[in-house]
Amino acid sequence: MENTISGIATALVESGIGIIRISGNQAVEIAGKILRTKGGRPLDIRESHRIRYGFVFDGEKEIDEVLVSTFLAPKSFTGEDTVEINCHGGILLMQKVFQATLKAGARPAEPGEFSKRAFLNGRIDLSQAEAVADLIAAKSEDSIRSSLSLLQGSLKEKIKRMRSRILEDTAFIEAALDDPEHISLEGFSEQCQGHVEEILSDIQELLKHQREGRLLKEGIQTVIVGKPNAGKSSLLNCLVKADKAIVSNIPGTTRDTVEEDIRIGSLSLHLIDTAGIRETEDIVEEIGVNRAKEGIEKADCVLLVLDGSLPLEEEDRKILALLEGKKAVVLLNKMDKESILQKEELEKLSGFPVLPISAKEGRGMEELGQKLEELFYTGSLSFSTETYIHSERQIAALEEAKSALELVLEGIRLELSEDFLSIDLMGAYSALGRILGEDVSEDLINEIFAKFCMGK
């Protein structure tokens, strides 16, 4: 087994403990890269069958306090060197630890791959072989289903478009190589460069904004907007506090930024405030519509906070208009006071769900969680562990396509001949194909024949 793989070994649900498992001949090395002692020194995890206490880091950022067990080959579940990281069982935390292992050099495990390796290394006996095969078959079915649901709509179309453009260019090069007397590549490098640069920027965009992927990975990008004094800061505080109460073990959550990762219900939110909410509340915030607009554009979800005890003003209406086409919840704050704005009326007016809350007293948070779940858990999208890891595989494939295309540009810069460019173009093509789960073998030949008039 050449690769070291990583996966979330426990269910991706809120629970006491989550296990991230790394298996393969570089498991110890990879885990070593992200683990430190309490004192900040590298954690020595080389000795087999021992449990150690330490911290997982993503770069310089501390993620979680963990227990780490090392099992050296062949005495492990898979029969390979294995490191298991026991972290706190929040979805977001498990995802972060998992991602840290990927960054350190592991690749996301294929469906059923741990069991497969265990079996192939003789760690699971014969009677269980059938079960392993079933598991692989079932899990990959699952994975294909979730990949399809993850890829519904525009993302799939985008990737398809990128692929067909890459294929066109490659086919042109290949046709010319096979039939140099009829097809000339004169000046083609420049054209190709333009195409590749465009596709690269599309991929970068995708990597940055891969909505569903990010939804699972970083939490839902959520922006809180509203007029000064509507209660945005109290809402943020209240959400952060509620989260802390449930997952009290998140260490090192820095409190001096305007962004917070919190969990509400079963969702992870990445909260962004539009107006430097960490400033003390005494200072009157000067929030302009423009600032809100900027935040809303980038967000997956918008929480509009209105002061329920005051009538709707022009500024509120302006912000409401900005929410068009977004997933949003309107929060009628200060339900502890006498309410002027009516829930039903406002729902009619805005077209968004409206929830009365009291940020000050922490009321309505549970309802908010439910509302958000309704908004985001729709259709066939199910956030199983497999789905999540699958989205990581897709991101890895996107990254691979990106580096292949960068090699194409490098090749053009070095004035390498087109047959070299074609090698990396095909690399990018097949990496993108893996996202769609498509077979590549005959595509190029078919494209050459379909588009070019080959002579003889």
Partner: protein, 633 residues
């Protein structure tokens, strides 16, 4: 009346490009070989174009030569013009192509075959095969006269002759190519044995009388000087001969209009031809109909030989009626008074569904029976020749009870070709293409000898003298690479002035020649002034050294990919595996695997419809079976 004619070791049916290579291999290895042909006058006949080599096909010829096949050597003695194609591109796609004198090529090859010890030519049509009662082992062949020939192995290399039909517009003739006699019985015999056949189609253009052409209206195409020979054994000095010219002209709108007007008279369009034609070598009517935006198509005018006035019209393949072809011809520049000698035609023929074959080209059903060449659904002389060689070697290995000889996709274009034939469903004649080779940076035409000569030598097909030359070349390359790595040039004014002339940026500190050569603007030639100690090496060695250095990064990456590939190739699939019992496999995968029965996991992974999850399931199943067998013992 049936009678026993003879007992031999190996029977080869068909003396085209596949058959002769197969027969030569078998005879050279000391086996009494009988080579059947419908006519000894058409041994190694080049029935279509007068070229040998070309993009990726040139690679095949070189690989065949490295292994000990004859096509390259004979071509070096028979060519009229030679060019290295794609020279402005990377080394992986440089490709040698020669215009061969068709007659001389055939004559030279016939001479070799006729004078080969143990090899016997026999005119006759083979009509059926002799097998054991269970029809699992080959015993021999029966000719149309009733003669029985018993053999340990039989190779079918019948090209496009089985139930062949040539179509010229509304007229069709039941002949093989060029009006030659066809074979009508063998197809049925193969069907009776349970083989699946398919009907393919190909075509050839008209030939014209060179005296009727006005070459001043065409662009002349000269051969390369100096000529690079095909064979690694040919002394380059012997191929520096006066070369013949080729010419380039174009079709025009007027001709295209004629085609459109008469398209209902084309057998391809009116349904007369049912066979599947190749997409890569479309007829002119196909090109005009499929690419209406192109208002002209290139036509290369190439000599068929030194002793004939016939010129071949590359790009004008057609099965339109004779009168239409004639009129189209005369619309082209320089062809106003063209005289047509032979009319273009389409040819339809029976061939084997190549999924019937193992990667040794032996049939899965009948042991000792091999197929090679166009009969396997490939196209091209070169594709045929390499298959003939490989089938021949494997037949010999088998009757000598030795290991089969298989090249994989990382070792040779030959490996790619055969692997494609036996794992993919081919719906049209298969042509080699450089884009089919995943590891083409390693499979270059320049290093075919370094890749394959040792193998050819081990098979007894390469002489002591030849292997010695290859080993010396290999040694010289390594030595020069080491020298370049260990020779440093100093950062002095003199050296920096030379660099400035290249032009390349000056150096601040010492740098090895190898590092310097890696710079994009530098090459082995232009850094020579910095390297006074350089030994005098042949251009072929210099070329290898330069490629090795300049493309090191790409080459290393491909080598890594090959390692992963090899891992899968090494995982063998047992012959008796019952895919239908593996219920975790998806149905499509079960059916495909059962039909194709791949040799190993790598081949299985290339079958369309077999997913990565299926492969994992298969892997687990294999391991389980292995354990079970161990436990039973």
């Amino acid at each position: 009346m049936a009678f026993l004619e003879e007992q031999v070791d190996i029977v080869v049916v068909g003396a085209g490009h596949a058959g002769v290579e197969a027969a030569l291999v078998s005879a050279k290895r000391g086996h009494k070989t009988l080579l059947f042909t419908l006519s000894p006058d058409s041994i190694s006949m080049m029935a279509c174009n007068p070229n040998i080599g070309g993009s990726s096909k040139g690679h095949l010829v070189r690989e065949l030569d490295a292994l000990g096949g004859m096509m390259g050597k004979v071509c070096d003695q028979s060519f009229l013009q030679s060019r290295m194609l794609n020279q402005s591109k990377g080394p992986a796609v440089h490709s040698l192509r020669a215009q061969a004198d068709k007659q001389v090529y055939s004559q030279n090859m016939r001479h070799l075959v006729e004078n080969q010890e143990n090899l016997h030519i026999r005119q006759g049509e083979i009509v059926s095969l002799l097998c054991n009662e269970e029809k699992t082992e080959i015993r021999g062949v029966v000719s149309s006269t009733g003669a029985r020939y018993y053999a340990k192995a039989v190779l079918i290399c019948t090209g496009v002759y089985l139930n062949a039909r040539c179509i010229y517009g509304e007229v069709s003739e039941e002949t093989g190519p060029n009006g030659l006699r066809r074979a009508t019985k063998l197809s049925q015999a193969l069907l009776d044995l349970g083989f699946r056949l398919q009907r393919f189609k190909t075509g050839t253009p008209a030939r014209v009388d060179r005296r009727s052409l006005d070459f001043s209206k065409m662009e002349v195409q000269k051969g390369d000087v100096p000529v690079v020979p095909f064979s690694f054994s040919t002394d380059p000095d012997t191929v520096q001969i006066p070369q013949e010219d080729c010419y380039l002209t174009y079709t025009c709108e007027e001709g295209h209009e004629m085609i459109r007007e008469n398209i209902d008279r084309s057998p391809m369009y009116n349904g007369v031809i049912q066979g599947t034609g190749p997409r890569y070598c479309p007829s002119i009517e196909d090109k005009v109909m499929k690419f209406p935006e192109k208002n002209r198509h290139q036509i290369f005018v190439e000599p068929e030989g030194r002793y004939t006035n016939e010129m071949y019209l590359s790009g004008l393949s057609s099965s339109l009626p004779e009168d239409v072809q004639m009129r189209i011809l005369r619309t082209m520049a320089g062809f106003e008074k063209a005289e047509m000698v032979r009319c273009g035609y389409a040819i339809e023929y029976d061939c084997l569904n190549s999924l019937e074959l193992e990667n040794t080209l032996e049939t899965k059903k009948i042991s000792g029976l091999y197929f090679a060449g166009q009969m396997n659904g490939s196209s091209g002389y070169e594709e045929a020749a390499v298959q003939g060689f490989m089938a021949g070697i494997n037949a010999v290995q088998k009757i000598e009870e030795k290991e089969p000889f298989v090249l994989d996709r990382s070792e040779a274009y030959i490996g790619v070709l055969i692997d494609d034939l036996v794992t993919k469903e081919n719906k049209e004649p298969y042509r080699m293409m450089t884009s089919r080779a995943e590891y083409r940076l390693l499979l270059r035409q320049d290093n075919a000898d370094l890749r394959l000569r040792e193998k050819g030598y081990a098979l007894g097909m390469v002489s002591e003298e030849e292997i010695k030359a290859t080993r010396e070349k290999q040694e010289a390359i390594l030595k020069e690479l080491r020298r370049m790595e260990n020779t440093y040039i100093g950062a002095n004014a003199e050296n920096n002035r030379i660099l400035e002339n290249i032009p390349s940026s000056p150096i601040q500190s010492g740098i090895s020649l190898r590092e310097l050569c890696k710079r994009p603007e530098c090459n082995y030639q232009n850094i020579a002034p910095l390297d006074p100690e350089r030994p005098s090496l042949s251009p072929f060695i210099q070329e290898e050294v330069e490629i090795e250095i300049k493309y090191e990064g790409y080459i290393k990456r491909q080598i890594q990919q090959v390692e992963a590939f090899k891992k899968m190739e090494r995982k063998k699939l047992p012959k008796d595996i019952c895919y239908h019992d593996i219920h975790n496999l998806r149905l499509e995968a079960r059916q495909k695997l059962d039909m194709i029965r791949p040799e190993n996991m790598g081949m299985a992974s290339r079958i369309s419809g077999v997913s990565p999850a299926d492969l994992s399931v298969l892997l687990v199943y294999l391991e389980k079976e292995k354990e079970r067998r161990k436990e039973e013992k």
